[in-house]
Symmetry: C2
Subunit: 365 residues, 2 copies
């Protein structure tokens, strides 16, 4: 319940009467309760001067308790108006609700209008930046989960490499990877697994399909695993058979760009300088036009979270931040290559969570 | 572009200056353009008295054109403020924007606040009910896609039945089904495929795992396929080896409940009466406490869409509505059984889209 207390302190310091948090990832972050209620109401209400509660569908109350929630559980049934149940539970606290902090980047207009009716006269302010700030710095407990998610992702790449064979389709390799991951206890993949081969590697957002692996292909794996609620995200590109000189040049350029950015990571370095360092390596090698996306993104409970590692973000890195470093070159005639690691900023540098080798792996046909 | 014109007519009839639609499913519905831009801005702006435009990331403009969009494409780059680009494109139309219709059940508070800044003095109203009303009635073209999605789902159940064997795990069967579906050209599954066996069938929202199939198990498949943007959703429960008398009783009760509801479907019948008819059959058989969810839900571009087939919804059925009928009995000691079909309301009755047999299938061990 540390996160609950941290938000309570925030409310006290900023003289805000309550916070209402409704996105499943943030509910999980502050309460430890993981639920996907779809259109049903799920939320944590935290007060400046009263005990918090979680509101959720009645049938999920046992799961809420099992997750370790020791404050009041407020269940609502499909036959009730869940918002009325919320208002009653909040009123029971007997504290004034003049200012309420909400997640403005997630809460819908319809839900805000409902809250404006129920908490008449209240003003609503942003909690988004406070939540981003908290989630941005990972605790040792969170890092341990991220390390395990990363180790599973490493293993997934290993399986993918072993599955490569002439005539096998991208989908066959993909299914073998996902099957092994589920067997090893991964809750689920962090996102749709990508296995792209040959010319398809040149598309940063391609879809795996029936294309059969051929000698001379590069094969790009982009995948991640959720472990105890935390995500990994890794990309490796490997060669099936001896690569051409140009293919090798592109690979080595991406590898150098990635390592250059990683080597710069420490507290105080700016996100935009990391992006620039990697981009400069690629531009100097003459492939600047083929690196068409940002360097990386924050990683944690969500596979894409705050902050964004872009050329326009002058945020300084701090100890405990976790993000991806993933430069790529997408050349339609030669090959696409992307290399992606998950990293954590340490007190004096960086720890790389994903460990699958980055020397070009050449799979023998 | 029929849907664009339909919304334009709505704006004219209701004297609303413009509509701005931003949910990917509704953008696809009105424009034919399927995109998942995550946090990037995607939207269709439709005017009472000017040409519409789609705003999307610049790199997606070629896909937008390829999808058949013949009006203006407005691309924005990551280095620009997409909302400023929107305001400029809207201003270029030279029409006043005093009232703007938005999807209040989806648009975030942050996005509305941005629009309030950009379109100063404008008032914002709901477009949600109009979109629900339109999506609720499927065209023949949409029905054709839903039929194909349903046929793929039938085939998936067939594969699942063939894969059943003593000692095989739920996950092994699941992966075999999904692999075949992808090979057959399904874009993706509509939701996480469910293969539950033995006591796990008694959980309406169970997770497939390592449990090995045993003689005497019931096996429950709940799955769906996306075909050209449209979803199917089917459930079948089959027996592995000769069922007990009680298992058979539960199966036949669910089957009768489902058929009773289906036989009532025609224009004019109320959603709540369908729910009640199925529930009455189950209650009369003594299993009322074990049917713990609504009868069904609308189906189309989204796997769960308007309307909800519940005991409290007095909406009348109309020709062209598509929804699921899926009663279940979840008995922790005997077995769980759910049977689910996708149906469309016709001029004088019902067409059942999913066709896999509903007589209890007994797989020989």
């Amino acid at each position: 319940m540390d996160k609950i207390n941290e938000i309570k302190s925030y409310l006290q310091e900023n003289d805000v009467d309550a916070a209402f948090i409704t996105t499943p990832d943030n509910v999980f972050y502050v309460s430890g309760f993981r639920s996907e209620p779809h259109e049903r109401l799920l939320g944590v209400m935290i007060f400046k001067e009263a005990e918090p509660f979680v509101i959720c569908p009645l049938m999920e109350v046992p799961d809420l308790k099992a997750s370790g929630w020791t404050f009041e559980p407020v269940g609502h049934q499909d036959t009730e108006d869940a918002w009325e149940v919320l208002a009653v539970a909040a009123a029971k606290r007997g504290v004034p609700l003049r200012t309420i902090a909400i997640e403005k980047s997630h809460l819908t207009v319809e839900r805000l209008e409902r809250m404006e009716q129920l908490f008449e006269g209240a003003s609503f302010q942003r909690l988004d930046e406070q939540l981003n700030k908290m989630r941005n710095i990972k605790s040792e407990e969170e890092l341990e989960k991220l390390r395990k998610a990363a180790a599973l992702a490493d293993h997934a790449i290993e399986i993918g490499c072993k599955e490569i064979a002439e005539g096998k389709t991208e989908l066959e390799i993909l299914m073998a990877i996902e099957f092994e991951m589920k067997k090893m206890g991964a809750e689920k993949m962090s996102f749709d697994t990508m296995v792209l081969s040959g010319p398809k590697t040149a598309s940063p957002h391609g879809t795996p399909g029936d294309r059969k692996i051929q000698k001379g292909d590069f094969i790009l794996f982009d995948l991640g695993v959720v472990y105890e609620g935390y995500c990994s995200d890794i990309t490796r590109t490997v060669a099936f058979g001896e690569p051409s000189e140009k293919q090798r040049e592109i690979y080595e350029t991406v590898k150098k760009a990635e390592q250059t950015a990683i080597d710069m990571i420490r507290p105080g370095v700016k996100a935009r300088d990391l992006d620039k360092a990697a981009r400069d390596v690629i531009t100097e090698a003459g492939y600047g036009d083929y690196f068409t996306h940002r360097l990386g993104h924050g990683l944690g409970i969500s596979v894409h979270e705050f902050p964004s590692i872009t050329g326009t973000n002058d945020m300084e890195m701090e100890e405990g931040m976790v993000f991806t470093v993933e430069p790529g070159i997408y050349h339609p005639e030669i090959t696409g290559v992307r290399i992606e690691d998950d990293v954590v900023v340490t007190s004096d540098g960086v720890e790389v969570l994903t460990k699958f080798p980055k020397e070009l792996q050449i799979i023998k046909p």
